[in-house]
């Protein structure tokens, strides 16, 4: 339970948002060329980090726009919010 600062609407309760999971998983450019291992990696394998994680959120009960969040999953503190297409902040690598 925490607040998320939507880049379009401002700070709202987390229950207004839906989690889109890990961010920056690149959709395969040539799906027909992919091996089973690569499909598994893309579809199922997740970093599932305890600590600082880059993730996607959707303001489902608000503007319905997608954006990225940097969050510490060990204490749910949000460290940064940035829009889709923007480069992830480098100081959290």
């Amino acid at each position: 339970m925490f607040l998320i600062n939507c880049p379009f609407c401002g700070e709202r309760d987390q229950s207004e948002f839906s989690s889109g999971g890990e961010a920056h998983i690149v959709r395969p450019k040539q799906p027909t060329e992919l091996s089973d291992d690569e499909w598994a990696e893309y579809l199922f394998m997740r970093k599932n980090i305890k600590g600082i994680q880059f993730e996607r959120w959707n303001h489902a009960h608000g503007c319905r726009k997608w954006f990225n969040v940097v969050r510490d999953t060990s204490n749910d503190k949000i460290l940064s919010v940035y829009k889709m297409g923007e480069k992830p902040p480098v100081n959290y690598k």
């Binding site: 339970m1 989690s19 089973d36 598994a40 997740r46 970093k47 599932n48 305890k50």
Partner: protein, 417 residues
Amino acid sequence: MKNKYSVFSLIKNALSQHENWQQAWGNPEPKKEYEAIIVGGGGHGLATAYYLAKKHNLKNIAVLEKGWIGGGNTGRNTTIIRSNYLWDASAGLYDHALKIWENLSQELNYNVMFSQRGVMNLAHNLQDVRDLKRRTHANRLNGIDAVWLNTEEVKKFCPIINTSPNIRYPVLGGTLQRRAGTARHDAVAWGYARGASEMGVDIIQNCEVKGIKRNGDRVEGLETTKGFIKTNKIGVVAAGHSSVIANMAGLKLPLESKPLQALVSEPVKPIIDTVVMSNAVHAYVSQSDKGELVIGAGTDSYVSYTQRGSHNIVEETLKAILELYPIFSRMKMLRQWGGIVDICPDASPIISKTNIKGLYFNCGWGTGGFKATPGSGDLFAHTIANDEPHKLNAAFNLNRFISGDLVDEHGAAAVAH
């Protein structure tokens, strides 16, 4: 057995004010080397060590636990035990566990308070009715007891349920597995710990794994907060923290760890003598032997390791509980907590070898691992000892996420998630 529990030992110890009971399990310092090390001292991990010692004659085993045994999800779940899963592979797995539960107290000489009070799953719409009826047929073909109850029979079996057709999600019927029920979760961990300890298993608490030492494609040992421990076989049973351990070996797992909540009410006189689950409105309830209502809520939608959950999840569950059981409207809730559950994309567990020799994973139990504790331990022990899965856990390998041969129990098997 040096200290067999019986009515006589109870009387004898009562005469000395229960001050002379022996320690139930040892508290050793880690040795330099073990034949096999189990990472995670919850029910599944302790059961794995117990069966490795008992059935596979391994003499030199350790269980490493970063906190205290049974302090993770084993002590945080709502203790429901059932085996009415849809698919053959799941039915085989969970009924194997249920059959062990039926004699577990005798086997361990430890009362795990297994109570076959039945588990009822409610249907609230036409699709629920079709799905649940289909599941009872599938269960019976697999030799698992299951019956369909219509609304009147549901009311008769559990009279406090509101079966009015005018509620938002009316009860259209339900399934009942009579062999299902509950057990005392702490006792399961303690019983296995005592049994394992007696066969020489070292249970090492307050010992956190910090790294996995690899030599090429095989494991050589573990870096821990109590120093380096050498071993050729590592069985990881770390529930919500499985991905963290996997990461130490350079592995990625198909898991997401999320908080799952439960809560208990103040204790009251016996009011509900069974377990009632409702998938559609996400509410399930039973009553503990102390008299508390034990209520299971849902998972949060996001990855988190905080062992607490969001208030809105609890609120949704309690709304559903109150509509189904108006009699509980003035109950006060006593405690609420969260556990971190590791969820697989197909809502089925992983009991598997990995591509690293000597490294085994038992994880992905998600929101419903407690019921499988004895079976999971038995099959994981088999997998570790023989370096091959048992036929009952062969389907639950890691490779299924590459081959696509998933055991898709999401929504299909009354999995409350």
